[in-house]
Symmetry: C2
Subunit: 499 residues, 2 copies
């Protein structure tokens, strides 16, 4: 690859890293009055990144490189990935970018006011405006008659509605009876979380222990506090996680850290030879989420993991956990109950929250659902899928910020993450029969090494589903996920789960 | 001013802010392994900033604006300041930038090795190479026969050797007998600093108290820890200070914080209408230093300030300060003694360290002193000015990092800072007769408000000396500084000081 193209890749990668630094800092250390200045700085950086990306000379260099025939396979992948990113940017009219930024500002504002007023009506006009702009965007970026595909492509390159809908529909139809069967057992939530205070300094220290336990490299990353936990990578050697500490809800810090550590291990795992190139990237948000969910849920809510760590947790919180044993703790952190709020949902009910949103998003983009009917459609599905009725819109259609940003196409990546996580974990168990024994003695290196080789170090060589197929022999499927739920929750709840 | 030029000013300002963010983060929160990645990111940002600055379209726009005749006085100043910055960048050959960066890397490396070996000889070849490049730079940027002027211009725009040398020479000749007179009193250093431990958490809390006391706005800035304290501003609403905590040396944190707070108040004080323009900047490093020295020394080592704060300090460190009263503390923090290390020098001897360096720098740039003779020239002056002989080069010519970076022309800005601080403070005392009474009751707002109006909010409207002249009625002078020393140390040491 010629040095000019390579240096432009480095420049784009460095700009991306600096944008992430400025965004990270905004959430953790920015002085209150600096918010407008930071917004301007980020806007300038985004504009520079965009200018370099759509530069016609970059287009020519990519075209020449693509035709040259003397690229290595990795270089071909770099050209492919950057060409795709560039074309999406070129096809996005500047006028639309400006209009969307303004509409997002209004959307957030209206959403906040609507939540305040507990009424969707206040949000509806802003949402309709965003929807119109996203339809325009979809048409500008191109699709085969399914606008949603063009938006999905922004988060899950290569995924299509035609492929996704049957999988999520089957998943939904399997989960509804499973949730009902578990709900019929009527087990109360764990008492050890009720009205006790968990010292936040000790929570922090325990999250640091967990980071070390899963092998997050604290010399190539760090953890800080923020209101909403997130992962932000400026480079494979500079991966920043956040968690939050709440004296009344210690699991929020523990599982929040494990979740972000899963993202973080992925970002730290990019290959040295991919650094500062388009291959040092995750192929999709769904695959990114598969790694966070794998460590948070398939490992972090598993008995083997806590067989090793629970004694230290009891030692950290001797009073709160005095009467709790490992099995009680394991049952407690895997309590299943239909609930209204997605971010508080357990791993059995969670995907029903996603399918609900996906179906509504698709109907909106297809003009099959008027924006005004969104709350009733939400509540109707909430009844059908989880048997619940939101008391007001803040606990229903207004609960997530995504639509206030006009972000359609993002929600399904959460479900994809859960499904990919289960498939990758099942493949890991097949490849590493000693895995649980290793976890029981606190050794996560076997699993981490396998994931590093199979997924992390591969970067963006392949699209997400192709990467999963290369590892597991099969692409997107709900089979492994459902098998995992049936085995785990059947045992925990003493019932035979079908579906 | 046309909108294109204005938007380019905003862009340059935003890039500058982001460069500062990345540099700040490198010193306080960067994971160890990320240092090379951060160096690349900073290099990319510097290259982008340089590219935009030397862009011929910017040159044309500035020339047009300068000739247009319909600019406000502030806009004229913006054009003047940016034109000067641009011309210096244009006149800096790219080849020289690259060669300097490489030579700086080698300089730092050789300097570290030389310090390790306690021998200047190891450093000499790298220093000679840097000196040759800086001579080239001076010739490229232009001068009237005095190369040092071209380097000084990088830190102290408008200042010239011809103006500076007589002032520093007179200062030197006044200080040498004053130091000797104070040394003859033979007062031991304060015992309250000997072998006691000052809890570092309490030190931190006291530095936060001091920040609030001087009016540093913690909603438009923050304080963190770093190995070497510094101030770094990304915007007037985002000014970041650092301090360091050492259990054995509590004054390091207290006066370090006061020093950086002085810098910080300046950066926070730029006028709203100057934001994101070349006027939201200090006119020189000397004037910047005047503000840090004013708060650290003229206020922070003064009796009125501690009349208010000493009781709280005693409360914070009751055991260490049990036997110390306000007068003892005031005498202790103003102990004068010739010493070998500049950064540990008191305010009477400090400027002799600077004059020594300035004279050697000037001789090097003028080819009047071979690099090989630098250590002997250093030691000879150290004997003449302070009566001391360094036991080895690490306590002599190798003590500062500045020359290892090839930074000639920076040292005199420290002395300029001390002189400007004294002149500005004398003017403040004339304008605000109640100043000491206000400080005694903990009110710094009178002084801060005056400095804000006279200096901070003026930004880069005028060069440093012209700004000082506009405030005090006189430009650079050693008179106010010497008067301040004579009055303060004459009283503290019970001697009559001449000079």
């Amino acid at each position: 690859m010629d040095t000019w193209l390579r240096s432009r890749m480095h420049e784009l990668s460095d700009l991306h890293g600096v944008i992430n630094l400025a965004a990270w800092d905004r959430e953790v250390y920015l002085p209150a009055k600096a918010a407008p200045a930071r917004a301007q700085q980020l806007s300038t950086l985004h504009a520079l990144h965009h200018e370099r990306l759509v530069d016609p000379r970059l287009g020519d260099a990519l075209a020449r490189a693509g035709e040259s025939g003397d690229l290595t396979p990795d270089e071909q992948a770099m050209v492919r990935v950057l060409t795709r990113e560039r074309e999406r940017a070129v096809r996005m009219p500047a006028r639309l970018v400006t209009a969307l930024a303004a509409a997002q500002g209004e959307g957030i504002q209206a959403w906040r006011e609507a939540r305040e007023a507990k009424s969707f009506a206040r949000f509806q006009p802003a949402l309709a405006a965003l929807l119109a702009l996203r339809r325009e965007q979809a048409d500008a970026q191109g699709h085969d008659g399914e606008r949603y595909d063009a938006l999905l492509e922004g988060f899950e390159p290569g995924m299509r509605v035609q492929r996704l809908t049957p999988v999520l529909t089957a998943l939904r139809d399997a989960l509804i009876p499973m949730v009902a069967a578990l709900a019929s057992v009527r087990r109360p939530p764990p008492a050890f979380l009720d009205g006790r205070a968990y010292d936040t300094d000790r929570q922090w220290r325990f999250t640091m222990r967990l980071l070390k336990a899963v092998g997050f490299d604290l010399e190539a990353g760090r953890q800080d506090l923020s209101i909403h936990p997130f992962t932000n990578a400026q480079h494979a050697h500079d991966v920043r996680l956040t968690t939050r500490l709440d004296a009344a809800h210690p699991l929020s810090a523990l599982f929040g850290t494990l979740h972000e550590a899963g993202h973080g291990l992925y970002e730290q795992g990019f290959a040295t030879e991919h650094q500062r190139t388009p291959l040092a990237a995750v192929p999709s948000m769904g695959l990114h989420e598969s790694q966070s969910r794998l460590w948070e849920n398939l490992v972090g809510r598993g008995r083997p993991f806590w067989a090793h760590h629970f004694p230290a947790l009891k030692e950290a919180f001797p009073q709160a956990l005095a009467d709790v044993d490992l099995d009680g703790f394991h049952a407690g952190i895997n309590h299943v109950a239909p609930s209204l709020i997605r971010v508080e949902a357990d791993e059995v009910t969670y995907n029903l929250h996603i399918v609900l949103r996906y179906e509504l998003e698709l109907a909106l983009l297809r003009d099959e659902l008027p924006v005004s009917e969104l709350p009733s459609a939400w509540n109707e599905r909430m009844r059908r899928y989880l048997g619940l009725t939101p008391p007001d819109d803040t606990q229903g259609v207004l609960q997530d910020i995504h639509w206030a940003w006009g972000e359609w196409g993002y929600f399904p990546t959460y479900a994809l993450g859960n499904l990919y996580a289960a498939s990758l974990h099942a493949a890991a168990v097949r490849a590493l029969p000693e895995l649980d024994a290793h976890l029981e003695r606190g050794d996560t290196s076997t699993l981490r090494g396998w994931l590093h080789a199979q997924v992390h170090s591969q970067g963006f060589r392949l699209p997400a589903e192709e990467r999963v197929r290369a590892v597991t022999g099969e692409g997107l499927t709900d089979r492994d996920f459902l098998q995992y739920l049936r085995a785990k929750y059947g045992a925990l709840y003493g019932v035979t789960l079908k579906g």
